[in-house]
Point group: C2
Chain length 113, copies 2
DNA sequence: CTTCTATATCCCTTGACAGGTATATGCTCA
DNA sequence: TGAGCATATACCTGTCAAGGGATATAGAAG
């Protein structure tokens, strides 16, 4: 399951689908990917249960399915317990993240994906 | 970062390290992996910041670092919002079904958001 | 110093997978 | 029915990462 989300283009597709369902063509245009590439990634995502599709005339509308994300979350659980014992480290990390973002405005930046 | 945890042996190593720090040899024995394999995976994990090591005589003790896990968690956040809406809807639906059957509604713990 | 133990690295082979191009499939509408 | 659009698939090729085996490094012990 992790191999699925290891691919950057697939993560981009998933991020797109968070807001709403999209057709293949819409994904293709927004992500500037070739159509076969999009279709192939969607195939992988569908086989892995990350998305499902419905037919709308000649189009296919893809939307997210929650289960695999829950599995990722479940895998993360033991480590979450671990890191919550390291709140100090968390705060240091966030400080570093803030400093890295020094170029950006203090108003909420748009998510870049 | 996802490529790192996409590898099953690496996930096994990380799971081992949740309980406590381990030497390379201990990991090698518990997971029945060849020593160079363990060392190479640990190298990858260390470079990606998932683990760190300290020297103990000829041994190296590896332990988890929290930051990359937090990043995974951060990536998951938008999807978590998405799927918790789904689960809530499902529960409401099930509640309705229960009531239609005239049965008592058994209170269930809410999933953590 | 020599040897033993623990770990890291090097080299090589192999397999998986991603992208590109061409083509197939399927639906719509004139 | 045929043209045209939207999507899926087949085939090819290059890249990259994992595992195996040999070897290098470094500390410990005698």
């Amino acid at each position: 399951m992790f191999e699925i989300i290891a691919e950057p283009n697939r993560r981009a597709i998933l991020s797109l689908l968070v807001s709403s369902q999209q057709s293949v063509g819409e994904i293709e245009r927004q992500l500037r990917m070739a159509q076969p590439t999009v279709s192939k990634h969607l195939r992988v995502l569908r086989d892995a249960g990350f998305v499902e599709s419905t037919v709308d005339a000649q189009r296919r509308l893809y939307r997210l399915k929650p289960e695999p994300f829950q599995e990722v979350d479940a895998w993360l659980a033991p480590f979450r317990r671990f890191w919550s014992a390291h709140v100090d480290a968390l705060e240091r990390h966030l400080d570093i993240m803030e400093k890295k973002k020094g170029k950006e405005k203090t108003t909420r930046p748009r998510p870049r994906t």
